[in-house]
């Protein structure tokens, strides 16, 4: 299967989103913070007349965003009828997958196992396939579930 993937860096690792899930890549403007929400929700930002929920992927997975660079662009994805803007270290490229995502022995480590659905080989090398709903739910719910 040659699925198109959007490649990016999250917390210093190469990650991939399905191009089908990605609506667009936007320049991120002003972010309105939302008090009383989990840390990984950075706030709201406007995309035309739509308000997007901004998710900091690094925090959602469980890393400190301060330790990594931050792209001024964000990946816009839709999940169960709502749109989110994902903040990552940097957006790299669009490439196609070689084969289905699979697991590797030993896993990816505690944080990554929750956020990634598997390892996918691409034309530009291996990348972690991100699990959108886990990213959006963030670390808090993962801890609760555990």
């Amino acid at each position: 299967m040659n699925e198109l993937l959007v490649m990016c860096q999250i917390a210093g690792r190469r990650c991939a989103f399905r191009a089908n899930d990605v609506q667009s890549v936007i320049e991120i403007g002003a972010i309105t913070p939302v008090p009383r929400t989990p840390d990984h929700i950075a706030g709201l930002t406007a995309l035309r007349s739509q308000a997007l929920t901004v998710i900091d992927c690094r925090r959602a997975i469980g890393f400190d965003p301060q330790a990594y660079s931050l792209d001024h662009r964000a990946i816009v994805v839709a999940s169960s009828g709502y749109s989110y803007a994902l903040r990552i270290d940097s957006i790299e490229d669009i490439t196609s997958a070689i084969g289905e995502p699979g697991t590797v022995p030993g896993g990816f480590g505690a944080e990554w196992s929750n956020a990634a659905s598997g390892l996918v080989e691409t034309r530009t090398g291996p990348a972690l396939m991100m699990d959108l709903s886990a990213l959006i739910a963030g670390q808090v719910s993962i801890e609760n579930a555990a």
Binding site: T37, L44, R48, S49, A51
Partner: protein, 805 residues
């Protein structure tokens, strides 16, 4: 019935309705060609449409009428009264047939031939008479109306109102497209402002703005309907039911202006009707029982709709006997819904909610009205299917209160935007009872333990800090100096929300929030401000219940009675108490006070013959200023109105609205003083509103800003223009505008002078160097004070000449 057929019926109906007036007018004047055409089109369309369906009789009738009318149109025949009657009879028959088709029944045989025969020239209009008589009462008023206009030929035939059916998601798409367009426009407006005035672009841009706002209105209306349309049927329903059951019920409707999706109105029609039936049947007692319980003979049923972000809450409350916990629990145990052990653990509230379980009816006797198997469980199911919910609370002997929550996928609400720190939040206007400015002493802010309290209309009201609610940092403004927004919940509970300041209010398009954000429980949705910034809409109901401020069981009905009582006891007139700049305690009748304004000193103009202030772009006469300089940078102003005239009264401090309970002692010595009275033991001077308005009142005119022409240079448009605008001028944007004052560089002026150019308006001349030639007549271009002073004096002159005009 299949869709196509439904469309046919709907279309025919619409055309019938639209052509009803035409038919009557045609009857009055059979020679009227325009009416003839309209009616011909109608029968022609019916005939055409019949071709799709198997309605031979309908086709035959319309075909016959069409033939006869075609003859008239072609001039082969002159329409006469007989023909009109015959055609009317056929149209009437078509209407009847359409009704029957819609009901899916068969139309009684026969009769068509006579109607068709009556169309023949020279035929006796036997059947026609009967039909015309039938038609008459319906169209009577219209015919007299049309009869009064003897020249109907000149009036254009109104186009029939047509409708089409559209999928809702298409509407949604159009709607969000328009929202995007509005934002794009705002963005463009912003850029245009930055680029300075450009006559060639501004005109079309203005037009675009107007069109866009029209389109936006139309789109909004496409989906929305006032809940009134649902409410309007309720008084009749209540009346019929209470008559049938021998009860007396007064129905009280509130919030009819709440708008919601047409679809949603249809969704809640049945549940609401059911709850009302229930309330009248089971809730409200018979008049004799009510009297025995010391209640008013007439039961009160109140239905209130409120909007909160993406939810509409409808509260139906009655002052009947209330739900009986024991009876419900017993029944639940008996039907095996809960076990006896389970029951003892359940709270009263939980037991009451059992009425929504399937197969539950506590009515002892099954009446004609309710309790026939269609229970509250169906109501709950229906509401839950559209994502709503229902709750009940009740106090025995006092009443029952049903709260329905219905979601709105999309809604436009009036909202108030407030600020804490740098961030803005929106509050639905429907909750806002009043806004109290921080400095008002009436508030009497106190702390009771961890909680804060304020005094509002003589009662202690809990007060929440928005900063605490949101876990935000405490701002610089101390708690007791924040602005209080008094919020009333649908249940009737009141609380104060302290915010740093009010930002604005206006219509907000509410969009749903992602589940992760909704989980916080304090937001109801988000909206975008004009500048495209997202703003969170606060969920007032949830915030209140998180802080245990909402009491479901407290009956609105009871409170209403209390308030009524309080009202009837105190007919005293109210006045606004303030301290003027001479330190006198004064009062002005509250009816006169329109608003309390805070204006910067720059809004006050002392140059004219009497002081004026510019408030919201309107120039108003100003009274009450102290002699000498103003003591502060901002002045508190009372904006007074007598209905047409307005003026503002400057005050040192605003105290409170008080009731004038003590006797008013008239004062003769000063015409501006109506009386002296005592408030809380201290004398207060009551200002004579009559004398005040007689002397100073003016019907306000919008401040038409004087126009200033500035040089056409980069420097002028970027550096000079803002200064001129700040001094209260409009910048002349094209060559046609007559300016009130012009600013010119001195060299330009000299050049113009040399060419004998006449100046229509006073000219302010600018020089490039601080010190130089013509020091007296020119102003150095960076001499801000000098420029402002020159503009001021020019504006004074302009106004003087303007008032002479």
């Amino acid at each position: 019935m299949d869709d196509l057929l439904a469309d046919f019926v709907a279309e025919t109906r619409e055309m019938l309705e639209a052509s009803a007036g035409e038919i009557v007018a045609w009857e009055a004047d059979p020679a009227d060609r325009a009416r003839l055409d309209t009616i011909f089109r109608f029968v022609h369309t019916v005939k055409g449409n019949c071709g799709f369906f198997d309605f031979p009789r309908l086709a035959g009738l319309s075909h016959a009428a069409e033939d006869a009318l075609a003859d008239c149109r072609a001039g082969r025949r002159t329409p006469d009264a007989e023909l009109v009657t015959a055609v009317l009879a056929i149209i009437d028959r078509i209407a009847q047939m359409v009704d029957v088709i819609e009901a899916g029944e068969e139309f009684p045989e026969g009769g068509d031939e006579e109607l068709i025969a009556a169309l023949e020239p020279g035929a006796e209009g036997v059947t026609g008479d009967a039909v015309a008589a039938e038609l008459e009462p319906e169209v009577g008023p219209a015919s007299t109306e049309d009869g009064n206009s003897p020249a109907p030929k000149k009036t254009e035939a109104p186009a029939a109102q047509r409708s089409i059916r559209l999928p809702v998601d298409l509407l949604d798409r159009v709607m969000s497209g328009v929202s995007d367009m509005v934002l794009a426009r705002n963005d463009l407006a912003h850029r245009l402002r930055q680029a300075g005035t450009q006559p060639t672009i501004d005109g079309p841009f203005e037009r675009l703005t107007t069109i866009l706002s029209d389109v936006r209105d139309a789109i909004t209306r496409m989906r929305m309907q006032r809940i009134e349309t649902l409410f309007s049927a309720l008084p009749r329903l209540a009346r019929d039911l209470s008559n049938e059951l021998g009860k007396q019920v007064l129905i009280d409707l509130e919030g009819g202006d709440v708008e919601l999706d047409r679809e949603m109105i249809e969704m809640i029609r049945d549940p609401l009707t059911h709850i009302i039936r229930n309330a009248i049947d089971h809730g409200i007692e018979k008049p004799s029982d009510r009297l025995a319980m010391d209640k008013r003979e007439t039961g009160l049923l109140s239905i209130a709709a409120r909007q909160a972000g993406n939810t509409i809450s409808i509260v139906v409350s009655d002052d009947g006997r209330g739900l009986e916990e024991e009876k419900i629990a017993d029944k639940a145990v008996k039907t095996g819904l809960i076990s006896a052990a389970h029951r003892s653990e359940m709270s009263r509230d939980a037991i009451l909610q059992l009425v929504f379980e399937p197969g539950f009816s506590t009515a002892e006797e099954v009446s004609n009205v309710s309790g026939r198997g269609v229970g509250l469980d169906v109501v709950r199911d229906n509401l839950e299917r559209v994502g709503g919910s229902i709750k009940v609370s009740s106090t025995p002997g006092v009443g029952t209160l049903f709260t329905l929550q219905i979601p709105l996928t999309l809604s436009i609400i009036a909202g108030l935007t407030v600020e804490i720190g740098e961030q803005r939040f929106a509050i639905p206007q429907s909750y806002v009872e009043e806004i109290i400015h921080a400095s008002s002493k009436a508030l009497d802010f106190t702390r009771a333990g961890e909680n804060a309290l304020v005094t509002f209309r003589d009662t202690r009201v809990p007060c929440l800090m928005l900063t605490d609610v949101l876990g935000a940092e405490e701002g610089e403004i101390p708690a007791e100096q924040r602005t209080m927004v008094m919020l009333r919940l649908a249940s009737g509970d009141l609380f104060a929300l302290a915010v740093d300041r009010i930002h604005s209010h206006g219509d907000l398009v509410v969009k749903p929030l992602a589940p992760a954000v909704m989980k916080a429980g304090v937001y109801a949705g988000s909206t975008l401000l004009d500048d495209g910034q997202p703003v969170l809409l606060l969920d007032v109901t949830n915030i209140a219940s998180q802080h245990q401020l909402a009491s479901d069981a407290r009956s609105r009905v009871f409170r209403g009675a209390e308030e009524e009582k309080a009202k009837s006891e105190k007919p005293a007139s109210r006045a606004m108490l303030f301290t003027d700049f001479d330190g006198r305690r004064c009062a002005v009748r509250l009816e006169l006070v329109q608003r309390i304004e805070t204006a910067p000193v720059s809004a006050i103009d002392l140059t004219g013959d009497r002081p004026r202030a510019v408030i919201d772009g309107v120039i108003l006469p100003l009274v009450g200023l102290p002699d000498g300089p103003l003591p502060a940078e901002k002045v508190r102003l009372l904006r007074l109105t007598d209905g047409s005239g307005q003026l503002v009264h400057a005050v040192r401090e605003i105290d409170d609205a008080v009731e004038l309970t003590d006797t008013l002692k008239p004062v003769d010595t000063d015409p501006m003083i109506e009386a002296v009275t005592l408030v809380e033991g201290k004398t207060v001077t009551l200002i004579d509103g009559h004398a005040l308005f007689a002397r100073h009142g003016e019907v306000p005119e919008a401040a038409i800003k004087p126009v200033c022409r500035i040089p056409q240079t980069e420097w002028a448009s970027t550096i000079l223009a803002p200064l001129v605008a700040a001094a209260g001028y409009e910048i002349a944007d094209d060559q046609e505008t007559d300016e009130d004052v012009a600013i010119l560089f001195d060299d330009e002026y000299q050049a113009a002078l040399a060419l004998d150019v006449e100046f229509a308006a006073p000219v302010i001349r600018l020089r490039d160097i601080p010190e130089g030639a013509n020091m007296e007549e020119t102003v150095y271009r960076y001499d801000r004070e000098g420029l402002v002073a020159a503009l001021r004096s020019a504006s004074g002159a302009a106004r003087a000449s303007g008032s002479n005009r």
